[in-house]
């Protein structure tokens, strides 16, 4: 799932991805290699946050057993 400008750059709010990536970082690398729009969205991961099954996580976190991965910029609620 993608939110805010990450969603706009990638062009879809969500998609099904089959991957053998072990960590979030591996998945980012895999998607970035696939198409320019991913590479553009993931160009600076320090400006991104990731949630695994709706819990904030690190980019080094393992993906085993995870069903929902979301990328988005830092939150600006309140």
């Amino acid at each position: 799932m993608y939110f805010a400008w990450v969603r706009e750059r990638i062009g879809v709010p969500f998609e099904d991805v089959q991957t053998t990536a072990e960590t979030v970082s591996d998945l980012v690398a895999e998607l970035s290699a696939r198409e320019d729009r991913y590479a553009a969205a993931f160009a600076d991961v320090s400006a991104l946050r990731v949630a695994l099954d709706q819990e904030l996580a690190d980019f080094s976190a393992p993906l085993a057993g995870v069903r929902e991965v979301a990328f988005f910029p830092p939150m600006t609620g309140g």
Binding site: M1, F3, A4, W5, R7, A51, Q54, E55, L56, A70, F72, P73, P74, M75, T76, G77, G78
Partner: protein, 145 residues
């Protein structure tokens, strides 16, 4: 406690009054965030959120506040969707026997909702739309707690 994530507008005063009842209540602190037109050019604000995670994240923040301070109740309302200038975006209220607890918890809730609840603001002016950037000062505020 009550957590509401909604696109509908709400009446902050009516919410405050409904929240202010109950035995043993001494102190109620509320925060209301309003769509602000910093330099007179804002046409509208759009708030995107991550449905599902939003409710979980807010609930976790509320649970944390309830564990840290002596609170009788907590109210969180946060809107999403298109908001006009001057409209309330969100509201937090805390209820306690003691004012220090009510103040600290409301301040804490705001800091965490701002940086840990999955909402993203987009501002539209005559020049187009831009996503509001997170501020370092908001992230730094979390280290107070």
């Amino acid at each position: 406690m009550s957590v509401r994530v909604q696109d509908a507008a709400f009446d902050a005063g009516a919410e405050l009054n409904a929240f202010s009842t109950g035995d043993g209540v001494g102190a109620i602190v509320s925060f209301t965030g309003i769509v602000r037109d910093t330099d007179g050019t804002l046409a509208a604000m759009e708030i995107e959120h991550y449905s599902g995670m939003t409710e979980r994240a807010i609930q976790a923040i509320v649970d944390d506040a309830m564990a840290r301070w002596e609170l009788q109740d907590v109210l969180v309302i946060h809107r999403f969707g298109r908001l006009v200038v001057g409209a309330p975006i969100m509201m937090v209220a805390t209820k306690s026997a003691h004012r220090a607890d009510a103040f600290a918890a409301a301040d804490f809730l705001m800091d965490y909702l701002k940086s840990r609840a999955p909402f993203w603001k987009k501002e539209t002016t005559a020049d187009g739309s831009t996503w509001v950037a997170a501020k370092d000062v908001d992230e730094d505020a979390l280290s107070r707690w």
